[in-house]
């Protein structure tokens, strides 16, 4: 009764507020349009050079000859630059090589003369080349832009003339699950240049150098033809030789085979890959040596013992560390969450796991690793799916937490899996942390997204005796993740160590990872004098396992020293990226190695100059950048169609080269949600008020 006399004032206030809010939100939201199709994530992408419909005046033909002996491939690439115009030309061509290949020879053939390239520090080589070009001499230059991307330039090719440029490189043969393979990349895909790397003029210049125009399909017929032949002498009887992307003709003897392209020539639009196997048991060959300038170099391939010897997989403790910092926001975060959810499904009931997430703060899902029961897994799964990318990146506390081991002498395999884009700081502290408190744990780095800091992640994985895997985005991520987890589930030899009696060996990698089924480990080392025995030992299936190699029985191979140098350079790069040495120091070391081993590096280039001037003074020199073929499977219209459209959009610049810019997404789209939310609140409050009113009435 009293209530009726005193109507509740707060309710009336609330009602007014609500109605006000409701109309305010209506006005604010404005007219709502129908849903539009979901766009592809609008990251900023620069396609620097675009396409060309102009048939180049300089035609290029490439011949590739590979000789596989034992476990090393030596490849000779001959590029013929033919000038079909009546002008003097300079031509340049961007091409890929295997990551671990070392280019050591440049020959330029002009008419009857052969000019041998010399190795020079990068700037000096460029200067020699440019001076020769100015003075009308023929010159060739090989420069490296990424460990797997090179550019050849040839200056002063006369009208109607052909200049041959020949480079030679070597690369170790890959060996996975008893199969051997050689990959000769033939084309550089139009590159995505991550925009945040283009913050300085120097970076923009490098990006410019790393991209090349792509030939329009209307002219690409017969452009950049390649012929390939491979002489296979693996030291055993090669069987099941196959080339998945090209049709090949094979002629063979008992222990060798020769492979050529069926059609003679193919366009340079997809990588050439050759697989082969060994008849019967995979041979245990794998010891090669070379003496180079007073030092001995050795390459050893450690093949894990047959899986049959290995007992069942011991229980594991898997610690997942997932980066949810702001740089991961969007696709990367999604890929990381999905990868983690997938990884959780691979756990067995005997395994234990934990999830740690970090941005500038960190959270551990469980205070210590828990058993992988259905409840815990479900909790982990929900947690993984709830993560959003926000905030800064402070990885160190998460790393510390992950390395904290409650049972350091347990027999579980402790595997720490990092999912991050590697946009990290304080690298030095992290390397130190891994080195000091690794214990029985193994650190596996999974690089997510398009621009992970691979050097640092590789380095961390190496220090953590694990592996580095780069998974991209979207669908690719799960596939890569599955492969990686499959490998991790099959460690064959752990606690691997190498001892050499005789002279000490400087081995790389210095910290040995575990051996996984089907994946041999390649070791490269240098020493003053190679002798004695090398003993490799470790734990296989809970038992001591060891094998001894007699270094005196190593086969001679002329490639080992350079492969060692190449490997050493990638170690230096990793140290540079983990700030263990400063940039100048690293540059100096790379330059010294490049000069000493006569290989093309980031700091050293090969340059060849024909001392006889050929271009008459006063004649103009035209520079031409040879277009690349688009990799097979890439859609030209899709990639470059927008450029044509853009030209229509900006007719005043139609004749000029266009730079395509992707525009980022610019909407928060909070209004709809806000409106719906407020509407619900209004309805709820109205209901309450109505009830009250009914009661009083």
């Amino acid at each position: 009764m009293r209530r009726m006399v005193n109507p509740p004032a707060p309710d009336r206030f609330l009602l007014t507020l609500l109605i006000g809010l409701f109309f305010a939100s209506l006005a604010w939201t404005g007219a709502l349009h129908a849903e539009e199709p979901e766009p592809r994530e609008g990251g900023l992408m620069l396609k620097a050079k675009g396409s060309t419909t102009q048939v180049p005046a300089v035609r290029l033909g490439t011949d590739i000859k590979a000789e596989v002996s034992g476990q090393v491939a030596r490849v000779t690439v001959t590029q013929a630059f033919r000038n079909t115009s009546d002008e003097w030309m300079e031509a340049t061509y961007l091409y890929p090589l295997p990551d671990n290949g070392a280019v050591d020879t440049l020959r330029m053939v002009v008419g009857e003369r052969i000019i041998i390239g010399r190795i020079k520090p990068r700037e000096e080589a460029r200067q020699i080349y440019e001076e020769a070009m100015e003075s009308g001499k023929k010159a060739g230059l090989v420069e490296q832009f990424r460990p797997n991307m090179f550019r050849n330039s040839v200056a002063n090719i006369g009208p109607g003339e052909t200049v041959l440029v020949q480079i030679e490189f070597q690369a170790p043969v890959e060996q996975v699950e008893g199969r051997y393979s050689l990959r000769v990349p033939l084309v550089v895909g139009p590159r995505y240049i991550p925009p945040h790397t283009l913050t300085t003029a120097a970076a923009a210049k490098i990006a410019q150098a790393m991209t090349a125009p792509v030939a329009d399909p209307s002219i690409s017929d017969g452009l950049n033809p390649v012929s390939i032949s491979v002489a296979l002498a693996p030291g055993f009887e090669p069987v099941d030789i196959e080339s998945p992307y090209h049709s090949v003709a094979i002629t063979r003897t008992a222990l060798t085979a020769s492979v050529t392209l069926d059609k003679g020539e193919v366009p340079a639009n997809r990588d050439f890959v050759l697989h082969w196997g060994a008849k019967g048991e995979v041979p245990q060959l794998g010891l090669f040596r070379q003496t180079y300038e007073g030092k001995d170099y050795v390459m050893a391939t450690l093949t894990p013992p047959a899986v049959a010897q290995v007992a069942k997989l011991p229980p594991r403790e898997m610690i997942f560390v997932i980066d949810n910092s702001g740089s991961m926001a969007g696709e990367s975060m999604e890929a990381a969450s999905k990868s983690l959810v997938y990884a959780l499904t691979t756990l067995r009931a005997v395994d234990r796991f934990n999830i740690i997430r970090f941005d500038d703060t960190m959270t551990m899902l469980f205070s210590d690793a828990v058993t992988a029961g259905p409840q815990n897994i479900a909790k982990g799964r929900r947690y993984a799916e709830s993560l959003r990318g926000e905030g800064g990146t402070e990885m160190l506390p998460a790393l510390r937490a992950a390395l904290r081991d409650s049972d350091p002498h347990g027999n579980r395999l402790r595997q720490i899996i990092f999912l991050t884009d590697g946009n990290l700081s304080n690298e030095r502290a992290m390397m130190a942390e891994i080195k000091s408190s690794l214990g029985r744990s193994r650190v596996f780095m999974v690089g997510i997204g398009s621009a992970p800091n691979t050097h640092l992640m590789r380095r961390m994985a190496e220090a953590g005796r694990g592996t580095f895997t780069h998974v991209g985005q979207d669908s690719e991520a799960i596939g890569e993740m599955r492969r990686m987890l499959g490998r991790l589930a099959k460690p064959v030899v752990t606690e691997l160590s190498v001892n050499v009696e005789g002279s000490p060996l400087d081995l790389t990698p210095a910290i040995l990872p575990d051996l996984y089924a089907g994946e041999p480990l390649v070791l490269l080392g240098s020493t003053d004098r190679l002798r004695g025995k090398m003993t490799v030992s470790g734990m296989a299936g809970g038992k001591r396992w060891s094998t001894t190699l007699d270094l005196a029985r190593a086969q001679e191979s002329p490639s080992i020293a350079r492969l060692w140098a190449r490997r050493k350079i990638s170690d230096i790069e990793a140290q540079r990226w983990s700030y263990q040495i400063d940039a100048e120091d690293a540059d100096a070391k790379v330059e010294t190695l490049g000069m000493a081993f006569h290989i093309v590096t980031d700091r050293t280039s090969l340059v060849a100059v024909d001392e006889t001037p050929s271009r008459p003074e006063g004649q103009r020199l035209t520079r031409e950048e040879l277009p690349l073929l688009l990799p097979a499977g890439w859609d030209f219209d899709h990639l470059f169609g927008q450029q044509m459209a853009a030209r229509h959009a900006a007719p005043d610049a139609a004749s000029e080269e266009q730079e395509q810019i992707d525009l980022p997404r610019g909407s928060l789209d909070y209004r709809m949600a806000l409106l719906q939310g407020l509407l619900l609140v209004v309805l709820g409050l109205a209901l309450l008020l109505w009830r009250r009113w009914m009661r009083f009435a």
Binding site: A646, E656, E659, I661, Y670, A673
Partner: protein, 199 residues
């Protein structure tokens, strides 16, 4: 008797509670939707206040400070359009995340000659619907240097169908946001303003 009464009372209680439960569910659901949504413009506005201070500090010291301790970004310029009474702090360290806080500068290949700024249509670049050809835009950098641009063209393009001449003759500023302005979800269209430097 007693039993009947209590049962009746129990039934009534339950029936009375139902609409209240329903109302509570509506309120909770509404709050769950509205609060994160309202947080977005609030964050955008709040960040601008912090960034304004950060920009002044950067201007005074000539160094780039972080606007808040866990930020991956810093204030790099102040964008003003006098006619529209606009003053926004532009961020470097462009990412989708940066755009939650203010217009973000995206690097371009023609560094120095071409500036690309992007922001959300429903927060910092909401004023782009009123922008028109001839408007003056000022950009004050952390070095204290001010550049003036004049809008020469407004266009609506698809996000991946925009290009500028590879060799720009004049310093150019491109502002980009989503389009249409009142749409409720993400779409492929972008509204862009192209402005050329006049001073």
């Amino acid at each position: 008797m007693n039993e009947t009464i209590s049962r009746g009372a129990g039934g009534r209680g339950w029936r009375r509670a139902l609409p209240q439960l329903f109302a509570a569910a509506l309120l909770l659901g509404g709050a769950a939707l509205a609060i994160p949504a309202a947080w977005m413009p609030a964050k955008a506005a709040l960040a601008q206040v912090l960034l304004e201070r950060n920009f002044e500090a950067n201007l005074a010291t000539g160094h780039n400070h972080r606007p808040w301790p866990w930020a991956d970004i810093s204030a790099s310029a102040r964008l003003t359009v006098d006619r529209l009474g606009v003053s926004d702090i532009v961020l470097s360290g462009a990412s989708g995340e940066a755009m939650a806080f203010g217009p973000a500068e995206f690097p371009t290949r023609q560094h120095g000659r071409l500036k690309l700024l992007a922001a959300h249509r429903d927060s910092h670049f909401a004023w782009m619907r009123k922008l028109k050809v001839g408007d003056r835009i000022e950009l004050e950098g952390v070095d204290g240097f001010t550049t003036q641009y004049e809008v020469t063209r407004m266009e609506t393009v698809e996000w991946d169908r925009f290009a500028v001449p590879a060799q720009l003759h004049r310093e150019t500023l491109v502002l980009a946001t989503c389009y249409p302005f009142d749409a409720s979800g993400p779409g492929p269209l972008r509204r862009i303003a192209i402005a050329e430097r006049i001073a």
